[in-house]
Amino acid sequence: MLLTVDAVTKTYPGDTGPLTVLDAVSLSLSAGESLALMGESGSGKSTLLHLVGGLDTADAGTITLNGTVITGLDDRALAELRRTQIGVVFQQFNLIPSLTVVQNLAFHARLAGRLDETWVNTVSERLGLTTVGARYPEQLSGGQQQRVAIGRAIAAKPALLLADEPTGNLDEDTADTVMSLLVDLTKEANTGLLVVTHSQARAAALDRHLTLSKGSLA
């Protein structure tokens, strides 16, 4: 099993007392498999994604990635985990504005210490980014920016790719293209994929889907 989430709980201090966003949530994902995470706004989808990605820490429960228990790791170890095992794509603010598209694409792979030029070129081609390689993120459209973000994550060949509403800022057509590219490329790289999305249609393109509600998965 690539990823196992076991009875994970997360509570935030709210205005009217503690707010339990995730209440003993469990799920699992195998390598190369894709999973859509759905649910109402505020149901804790992003929170779960952040916990799995080592961006935030759980209050209780365990998360295991590739055989390593990541809950309870310190700051350094979590950073290393993010660098070498995980790719993230967010709705926005993904790219490094001071680097060109080409530099952005190779960036995570170089950080992880496994730059494979041929693979980066393949990804860049598949995403249709070869003609804009010298541009800066601000000079791209939203769809192009999101493709660069996906390309950067996949170019690093992570074990697990997390995407939080990656198509939320895009129009329908672009969203479809971006989502299918995401699914296809992760399949090719044998990368596990966890996507938060609102859209039933887009969720259908993935292997499985789960819905979060009132702190639990349904």
Partner: protein, 800 residues
Amino acid sequence: MMTRVVLQALLSHWWRRPLQLVTLLFGLALATGLWTGVQAINQEARSSYDAAAQALGQGDFDRLVAQGGALIQRQTFVDLRRAGWLVSPVIEGRYGRGEDRVTVIGLDPFTLPPSAGAPDLSDDNDLAQWFSDDGLIFVHPETQAALPDGLPRAIPNLSVAIGEVVTDVTTAWRLLEVDGFSHLIIAPQQPIGLTPLDDLIPSLERVRPDPAGDIAQLTRSFHLNLTAFGLLSFAVGLFIVHAAIGLAFEQRRGMFRTLRALGVSTRRLVAVLAGETLVLAILAGLLGIGLGYLVAATLLPGVAATLRGLYGAAVPGTLSLDPAWALSGFGIALAGAAAAAGQSLWQVAKLPILAPAKPRAWAMAMDRSQTRLALAALVLFAVTVVLLIFGSGLVAGFLLLGAFLLGAAFLLPWVLSRLLRLAAPLARGPITQWALADTRQQVPGLSLALMALLLALATNIGVGTMVSSFRLTFAGWLDQRLASEIYVTARDSQQSEDVRALLEGQADAVLPIRSTDIRLEGQPAQLFGVVDHPTYEQGWPLITALDTPWAQVASGQAVLINEQLWRRADLTLGSELALTADWALPIVGVYSDYGNPEGQAIVAQAELLQRFPDVSTLGYAARTDPAQVEALRAALIDIGVPAGNILNQAEVKTFSLDVFDRTFLVTAALNVLTLGVAAFAMLASLTTLAGLRLPQLAPLWAMGLTRRHLALVELARAVLFAAITWALAVPLGLILAWVLLAVVNVEAFGWRLPMFPFPFDWARLAIWAIVAALLAAALPAYRLARIAPAQLIKVFADER
């Protein structure tokens, strides 16, 4: 009502960012404070010059003086009075030595014109003593604290200028050991039908009063120097304010749009913002005036010491509060805030309600503004060159410096981006690559602070090099010039003979020091008479000379002049210098004479004594085996010479260097202050930028860089900026030093100095710059290292 709502919305920004508010207020207060402080010092000095010129009827009356500065005979005065002229005699001279030296002014209260400010003698006791054998002196309370020995009873009097002693003519004669008058005051109202003065006494010259006074003229350069520093600090402070205001406007851009969309007119928005700026300026102005008072009060004793040491001008060491400069400080705070906010207000006035669909790429925007600044820099450099070729005078010199420094500062962002772009391919790892690219992107946000740093560093190097070069030259010059092993001043002419006899018996050579004050080429100057001795030929620091200058001087057929006189009067070797109306000699050499504000000339002593029989005959220098100095001192004390009147070579050198060092203490203090302001500008910019940087840093964190790692990169960046800025500041500072030494000094003091490099000082400054940058970056970096992951995650949150 609406305005109140708008104001509330706008002010909520400051509420949430108190540090930014503090930065803005403090930046403006700092700028105002340094400027006001310098103004206060200048004001204080100027009013004390005025007081010196006004006191004792020196300023407002025409005077009669003898040509060549000789004394006027008593009989001449009597003759003039008999002829009906209302004139009053004054005898003026210096008494005591070194620090405690005072100017003794002898007056005749009976003939003094009523408005000439005669001392108050209403107390019968005082009146009696004034005319007694002992006499009575009036001094400013501040002078009274350090009077030389041997003066009669002193009565404090605030209307006497500092450093002056007022007494009756007879007492003055006794103290100064002369007989005669320095000048005669001519009362403005004279009886009708008098014989014209030219017919009565053709040998005397009538001179107009000089209200500014020689001192004011001499010290002009010093005050200009201070003002330049004040202006520099103000400019540096304005950089801070401009940056802080610009940022506050930038951050509220979205709010402005919302307010406009909600129906607030541009006019109202701009008016409210202008009001906000006004309130901030008033607060900062108040703070700045307080700060200025503090600066002035701290620096004034040093300034007073400088003015005394370098120019012999007496200025009180304590500050009196003058509403004039407080008001001017307020004005400058308002003007500064207006200048800094003007651009931002203009932008708000032109702000479209809807955000432009696509923000221009930062790279292009950056290049545009940098190119504009670089073009402005070129214009300023052109101005510099024009001033260098065609300008003359001190003001032109300072303008030249200003244009050059500002131009260099404007060029800085462009140079930094170019350098970082050139360095980009050198990056190996992804983090270095990102750091370099990101650093380049930070240049616009930091450029104002970096410009301030560049100015401060360049000024430090420039002024530091000037002062150190000067000191090195000065010390070497002292070694040459102070060739004699011992210097003695006899108490009176009787003792003078004893001293001479003793020295002739025990020393290898006696070199009597004889001089008189005269006017040369229309300027106040001293004329020295030297005896024929190889000491002069071996040691005197000649800059340029004809063949065998000393032999020619000894023969009485030639004169040597100091560099100041040579440059100011544009004299040439071989040309004739008029010493008195009927005495002119060819100039055979020019010597350097640092620290002396006045012109000077050297002739054979015999000639001097023959032409000016009244010169003081108290001073002696003597050559002797250094081992014998102490024995000689003891022998001199035995015959009654006060111990304080005997100085050995080392003591004179120490004293001179001490005066020198104190002279530039103020400069050093201002240097440090300017650097501090620049460091504060860095802190302000880095702190405010830190908030804007999270969106740029969050992806890196998400990709596996620790917060600590990011914080270290931020620190390294600050160090890199400081180091590059320092490296650029070194050549800039050296050019500045050259201009100071070769242009400004010549204009201000009349001497030109060689320039020496002091790499050790530069290295120390580099360390300071890096420490300042580290300190400035420490707080934002620490915050970044400690930031809650939730804050970083929030960057990616959907709500954004």
